[in-house]
C-alpha cells in the first residue's frame, strides 16, 4: 500500500477523547467563530483563546510540538497577507526607498496583519485538535446528529472509505509512469510539454473511468445486500454530565475572551 493512513486521529484514553463528538464539533466551531469576531489587536483575548487550546492539548495528552508543526498548514496563505502591512492606512512606522518607489509600513497595517495571522493560527490548532481527538467516522456521525444533511454525510463517509483505495490506484499509475520513463534531470520530464500533459491527462482519465466502474461494482454489491438509499446506525448519542460541563466551560471561556477583547 502506498499510503499508510490519512487519519489524523491519535488514540489516547483522555477526558477530551471520551467527550461526545457533537460537543467537540460545537466547541471547535464556536471557538473559530469567536476568533473571527475578536477585534484586531486584542492580544490578551487572543492569549486567552490560545490558553483554551493549550488546556485541551494537555487534557488530551497530546504533544504540543507536533500540533504546532502541523498548524503551519495555512502558512502559504498567511504569507500573502503580508501586503496588508504596506497598504493599510495608518501612521508610518518605517519607509524604505527601493529605486524610484517608497515602501511604507504602517502601524495599523502591522496590527491587522498580526491579528489575522494569530486568528488563523489559533483556529487551525483547534481544528487540528478536533481531528486528533475524534475518529473520522465519529465526526461524521456527530455531524449527522447536528442536522447536517444525511446525503452529504454519507457521501463524505464514502469518500473517506475509498480515499486510500483510489489514491493507491493513483500511486500505482504514478509508479508505472516513473518506471516507463527515464528521468533526464531532476524535476524535468522527457518529451514535449504537450506530450507530458497528455500522459498525465490519460492517467487522470484512466483513474476516472476506473473510479466510475468501481462505484458501479460497489453499488451492485450494496444493492445485493439490501441497500435502499440510506444507512442505519447502531450508536446512539447520549450526553453525559461531563459533556454538558465541557460545553459550559468552553462557552464561558469564549464569552470572557470576547468581553476582555472588547474592553
Amino acid at each position: 500500500m502506498v499510503t499508510a493512513s490519512f487519519d489524523r486521529y491519535q488514540r489516547r484514553d483522555s477526558i477530551i477523547h471520551r467527550l461526545d463528538a457533537r460537543v467537540k464539533v460545537v466547541i471547535a466551531v464556536l471557538f473559530i467563530v469567536s476568533n473571527v469576531f475578536l477585534p484586531d489587536g486584542a492580544w490578551l483575548a487572543f492569549a486567552i483563546a490560545w490558553a483554551l487550546v493549550l488546556l485541551t492539548v494537555r487534557l488530551a495528552q497530546l504533544a504540543l510540538t507536533s500540533l504546532l508543526k502541523r498548524s503551519l498548514v495555512a502558512l502559504p496563505f498567511a504569507l500573502a497577507a503580508v501586503t496588508i502591512i504596506f497598504t493599510h492606512p495608518g501612521e508610518t512606522l518605517a519607509a524604505w526607498r527601493v529605486g524610484s518607489w517608497t515602501i511604507t509600513a504602517t502601524e495599523a497595517g502591522l496590527v491587522r496583519f498580526a491579528s489575522i495571522m494569530l486568528r488563523s493560527w489559533i483556529s487551525v490548532q483547534m481544528a487540528l485538535l478536533l481531528a486528533a481527538t475524534t475518529p473520522f467516522p465519529d465526526l461524521m456521525h456527530a455531524l449527522r446528529h447536528l442536522r447536517v444533511p444525511a446525503v452529504l454525510i454519507t457521501i463524505i463517509s464514502f469518500m473517506y472509505r475509498y480515499l486510500f483505495v483510489v489514491t493507491d490506484e493513483a500511486g500505482r499509475l504514478l509508479r508505472a509512469r516513473a518506471a516507463r520513463s527515464a528521468r533526464p534531470a531532476a524535476g524535468q520530464g522527457g518529451g514535449s510539454l504537450l506530450w507530458r500533459a497528455r500522459t498525465a491527462g490519460n492517467m487522470v482519465g484512466q483513474l476516472l473511468l476506473r473510479s466510475v466502474e468501481r462505484s458501479e461494482r460497489v453499488y451492485n454489491a450494496m444493492a445485493a445486500r439490501g441497500y435502499r438509499g440510506h444507512f442505519l446506525t447502531m450508536n446512539p448519542h447520549v450526553m453525559s454530565a461531563r459533556d454538558w460541563l465541557a460545553c459550559v466551560v468552553a462557552v464561558a471561556w469564549l464569552v470572557s475572551a470576547q468581553m476582555i477583547g472588547r474592553l
Partner: protein, 318 residues
C-alpha cells in the same frame, strides 16, 4: 504523501470577516442543497457510491502531476472535469465532499470558511466549466475538447478572482494587489488544468463515450448563460475590481507598494495590462481577452495534435 494543491484556493479560518462568512455560507448552503436535490433525482440510490468514489477520485487525481518548466509542475483542481463528466449538480456535490473532507481531516481550508471554499472551488468552477462545455455538446469533438480546455482555464481563473474578491471585501488583502496577483499566479495553474482536462476528456471520449453522452445534456440551456456570465465577469470584473478603492488603501501612496506589486516577476502581462495601452480598464480587458485567446489557442492546438499523436503511436505499435 498528501497532495497540497493550489493552497491559495483553500481559504483558512481567520481570513474572512463575519459578514462575508455568513453570506458565503448562505449561498453555498443553497447551492449544495439544490445540487443534492437534483443529483438525487437523477442518480437515485446510485448517488452515494458514485459521488463518494468520485470525490475520492478528485482527491487522488490531484496527486497526478507533470513537469512544466523550471521546477513548476502542472496539476489538476478537477472541478471543471467533474462537472463536465458527471453533470453540473453532481460536480458541485462531489467538490463539496472533497472540500469538507480536506477541511475536517487535513485542516486544508478552514471549518468556518468552508462556505466560501465551497463557492470558490465547487460552485463557481462548475458554473464556468460546465456552462461553456454545454454550449458545444452538439458540435464536433475537436470543438468540444478545445472548449473544455478554455472552460477549465476560466474555471480556475474565476475561482482565483472570487478568492481575491472575498478577501478584499473582508479587508484582509488589498484588492488592488490581490486581484492581479491571484489572477497572475492562476493563469499558469489554469494552463496545467486546461491541458490535463483536455487530455483526460479525450481519453474518456475514446474509451467510454456513453458516459459523456449521458451527462452532457443533463443541464438545461440556462447553464450556458451562467457559464458565459462567469467568463464575462472574469474578463470585465478583474480590471474594475483591481481599480476599486477599497477603503483600506492609502491612496496618498501613489508610488508605494502598489508599484512594487506591479513589477512582480511572474507576471507576463504586468498587472494584467498591455504596456502600450497604458494602465486603463480597456488595457486590462484586452489583456484578459489575449489571455483567453492564448488559452483557447493552446487548447485548440492540443485538440488538433492529440488524434495525430495517438494515430502515430498506434502505427508504431502495430
Amino acid at each position: 504523501m498528501y497532495p497540497a494543491i493550489s493552497p491559495l484556493l483553500h481559504v483558512p479560518d481567520g481570513f474572512l470577516s463575519p459578514a462575508v462568512t455568513a453570506i458565503t455560507w448562505l449561498l453555498a448552503a443553497i447551492a449544495v442543497w439544490l445540487a443534492a436535490h437534483r443529483a438525487q433525482t437523477r442518480f437515485r440510490e446510485r448517488l452515494i457510491p458514485l459521488a463518494g468514489i468520485m470525490a475520492a477520485f478528485i482527491f487522488a487525481a490531484q496527486m497526478i502531476n507533470f513537469p512544466i518548466a523550471g521546477g513548476t509542475s502542472g496539476h489538476l483542481v478537477g472541478a471543471a472535469l467533474a462537472a463536465i463528466v458527471l453533470g453540473p449538480w453532481m460536480g458541485i456535490l462531489v467538490m463539496t465532499a472533497v472540500i469538507a473532507l480536506q477541511a475536517l481531516l487535513f485542516q486544508d481550508g478552514g471549518l468556518v470558511a468552508m462556505g466560501a471554499n465551497i463557492l470558490i472551488m465547487g460552485v463557481v468552477p462548475a458554473l464556468g466549466g460546465y456552462g461553456l462545455y454545454r454550449a458545444v455538446i452538439n458540435h464536433s469533438r475537436r470543438l468540444q475538447l478545445a472548449t473544455a480546455g478554455v472552460a477549465a482555464w476560466f474555471s480556475v481563473m474565476a475561482a482565483a478572482l472570487l478568492t481575491a474578491l472575498l478577501l478584499g471585501f473582508s479587508g484582509t488583502f488589498s484588492l488592488r494587489i490581490a486581484v492581479p496577483a491571484m489572477l497572475g499566479v492562476h493563469a499558469l495553474i489554469g494552463l496545467g488544468e486546461a491541458l490535463i482536462t483536455v487530455a483526460a476528456l479525450s481519453f474518456i471520449m475514446n474509451s467510454r463515450p456513453q458516459l459523456l453522452q449521458e451527462s452532457a445534456a443533463t443541464g438545461s440551456r440556462g447553464w450556458i448563460i451562467a457559464g458565459g456570465a462567469i467568463v464575462l465577469l472574469v474578463i470585465f470584473l478583474s480590471p474594475f475590481a483591481s481599480g476599486l478603492p477599497d477603503g483600506l488603501e492609502w491612496v496618498a501612496q501613489e508610488n508605494g507598494f502598489l508599484q512594487a506589486a506591479r513589477e512582480a516577476p511572474y507576471q507576463i502581462m504586468p498587472d494584467y495590462t498591455i504596456p502600450a495601452l497604458g494602465d486603463t480598464a480597456v488595457s486590462t480587458i484586452v489583456a484578459g481577452a489575449v489571455g483567453a485567446a492564448i488559452a483557447g489557442g493552446g487548447a485548440w492546438v492540443v485538440a488538433r495534435l492529440l488524434p495525430r499523436l495517438r494515430s502515430r503511436k498506434e502505427r508504431a505499435g502495430s
